[in-house]
């Protein structure tokens, strides 16, 4: 393969990886934007989404098959279930802690994350579950670059979800309310916005997006595991910071940038795939040192 082919192949890989990161990063950034909470449990919601999608797929596969119909149906069901799970977590764990010191709510989020991952671990005995589908391996071949139809479909559906979200945030009343609450919660309350309802909705959407990414990752990698949420949670946070945390467009851009950086990073000599995670966390640390507001973030640096 020529260098150009390798670069094109990595471009395709990076786009797929990047769209997963972007979907998960969106949930981080939405929750952070609206209540300034770093939701450590977000990566675990992604994992739960993958498992619940897996469960629904095995339920509907008799009726709809294990191809696109079944996957789409189980993905939507998984998004709704995990969205409700996210709302439940917000109501039970985060709502009572909003007035507490910052450290307490961060630790609460960590505890929620532990409950979710250990819960799934106890249910699955820590085993990998095979996420089997009937999608096959056909695809487009352009020169030496090979992309399966599954990969194309995953990127397209991720893009569709993001475009929908973008219009929801920018064109609807609820989207406007979300943006307003991120700026000044008390003023919104005075203007008659039902702040609690909008926060609940934010958690629902963020969690549902994570679940969608989880199901897609299950389809893409072909297996799910209780620990799959940990690293992607970290990566998605990195993506959100690259884009500027709190910014919707930033999360999308940051996810793609991180996915591409990682894909091309593995091609740099001396950085093999075993150093991939070091590479992206290194980027996170460097970014926080030199440009903590990210690419599209606001310029103010807040203090706790």
């Amino acid at each position: 393969m020529s260098t150009l082919d390798i670069l094109l192949q990595q471009l395709a890989n990076g786009l797929i990886l990047g769209s997963f990161y972007a979907l998960v990063a969106l949930g981080y950034t939405m929750v952070y934007g609206i209540i300034k909470l770093l939701n450590f449990a977000h990566g675990d919601l992604y994992m739960c989404g993958a498992f619940i999608g897996f469960l629904f797929l095995s339920l509907v596969s008799g009726l709809l098959g294990e191809s696109w119909g079944g996957i789409l149906c189980s993905m939507i069901l998984s998004m709704i279930t995990v969205g409700l799970l996210g709302v439940l977590i917000q109501r039970v764990a985060y709502l009572p802690m909003l007035a507490a010191p910052r450290l307490s709510i961060l630790i609460t989020a960590l505890a929620v994350s532990m409950v979710l991952s250990n819960g799934v671990m106890a249910l699955t005995d820590g085993e990998y579950e095979a996420f089997s589908t009937d999608l096959g391996f056909e695809g487009l071949e352009m020169g030496n670059v090979f992309v399966t139809y599954t990969q194309i479909a995953l990127v397209v559906s991720a893009a569709l979800l993001m475009v929908t979200l973008f219009f929801f945030i920018n064109r609807t009343m609820y989207g406007k309310a979300m943006r307003a609450i991120a700026i000044d919660q008390d003023a919104c309350r005075l203007m008659g916005i039902n702040v609690n309802k909008v926060i609940t909705l934010t958690f629902f959407i963020g969690s549902a997006l994570a679940a969608a990414a989880g199901v897609m990752a299950g389809v893409y990698y072909g297996s799910v595991h209780f620990f799959m949420g940990f690293v992607i949670g970290l990566k998605a946070f990195t993506a959100a910071v690259i884009g500027g945390i709190g910014s919707i467009r930033g999360a999308m851009l940051g996810g793609l940038v991180l996915g591409l950086l990682e894909a091309f990073g593995t091609q740099i000599p001396f950085i093999g795939s075993e150093w991939k995670d070091v590479f992206s966390f290194g980027i996170l640390i460097l970014l926080l040192v030199f440009k903590p507001t990210g690419l599209l973030g606001k310029t103010e640096i807040e203090r706790m």
Partner: protein, 327 residues
């Protein structure tokens, strides 16, 4: 001492038991401490090896939790990568003794310096940022250290280092569990003492000020970043030294010992017991070690129960089982 001066002023709350009133007098507390220390000293004479192994482990976690308590409890910074410092200490001792044949006791100062340097590298740039950024950066950093230990040649790769020599002390070769019991008990007492002295020092008061109100502290002339960095580096030293002794006791270390779960476990110990309160942290560390032993029967549900207990405690008793009194 702040507690003494509070006692006469604070009107006894109606719910306060007589025991707590009795404990409020410092002389009585010292008596209790002496009795507990005496009990800990004579324990190896009566306990079997299984009990001693667990208690040694508990004293070890007391040191780690007290170290993290300086960062989380005193300075109010969330560190999710504390296992990294523990790893730095353990690998320093491991590499120096097994590869270069250095005497164990000489590796301790090297490990102290190495963990200090690591603390400055990671803390220096990030302590200026919001505390939740710090949490994520420390998390990422903890992973970086583990992945490095896994992939580098000098750290023995994924299988780790084996055959670390056990140290001698005044001609006594430390190779029995009751030897290590005393070593870790001594370390834990030393860690309690240092924590206590730090808490009531000028630096300790500065940490408390920064934790409660950063801007006010800065206005009073406390260098915010420097003070946090002190907490971070001192916490790192605790972890590093604990790591040295861990390597010596286990004689083998592998990267999987220093996973994210390890950092979380240490944090859970600090939070469960009560951030910023030495007896609370000691109780938390013991709970951490004893809980899995007591609930050995429920198998894979164990960690789930543990996580749920943690969530319930943080929701209903956010300050921990035995919290620090704050005015």
């Amino acid at each position: 001492m702040s507690k003494q001066s509070q006692t006469p002023k604070a009107a006894p709350a109606p719910s306060r038991s007589m025991l707590l009133d009795w404990l409020a007098i410092q002389r009585n507390r010292i008596t209790i401490l002496m009795i507990l220390a005496g009990m800990a000293m004579v324990l190896p004479l009566v306990a079997n090896n299984y009990v001693l192994e667990i208690l040694t482990n508990a004293w070890f976690y007391v040191v780690l939790c007290l170290g993290l308590n300086i960062v989380v409890g005193y300075a109010g910074l969330l560190d999710l990568g504390y296992a990294a410092f523990f790893a730095v200490g353990a690998y320093t001792t491991g590499i120096l003794t097994s590869e270069f044949g250095v005497n164990f006791w000489l590796t301790i100062p090297v490990a102290v310096v190495a963990s200090m340097i690591t603390g400055v590298i990671i803390g220096g740039p990030t302590l200026r940022l919001r505390s939740d950024y710090l949490a994520i950066v420390t998390l990422g950093f903890g992973e970086i250290v583990r992945i490095c230990a896994r992939n580098l040649e000098i750290t023995g790769g994924a299988s780790g280092l084996i055959g670390i020599e056990r140290p001698s002390l005044f001609g006594l070769h430390l190779n029995q569990i009751n030897h290590f019991y005393y070593v870790f008990l001594a370390l834990a007492i030393l860690a309690c003492f240092i924590s206590y002295r730090l808490q009531h020092s000028r630096l300790g008061r500065a940490w408390q000020y920064v934790r409660e109100d950063e801007d006010a502290a800065e206005a009073m002339g406390i260098g915010r970043v420097a003070i946090k960095l002190y907490a971070y580096v001192i916490g790192a030293i605790f972890g590093g030294v604990a790591g040295c002794f861990f390597a010596a006791k286990m004689t083998a270390i592998s990267p999987e010992t220093f996973m994210f779960q390890q950092s979380v476990l240490i944090l859970v110990g600090v939070v469960l017991g009560g951030m910023g309160k030495i007896p609370g942290v000691v109780i938390g560390a013991f709970a951490l070690v004893l809980f899995p032993e007591v609930f050995r029967g429920i198998g894979s549900m164990r960690m789930l129960v543990f996580a749920v207990v943690m969530l319930v405690i943080i929701l209903y008793r956010p300050e921990g089982i035995w919290p620090a009194r704050r005015t």
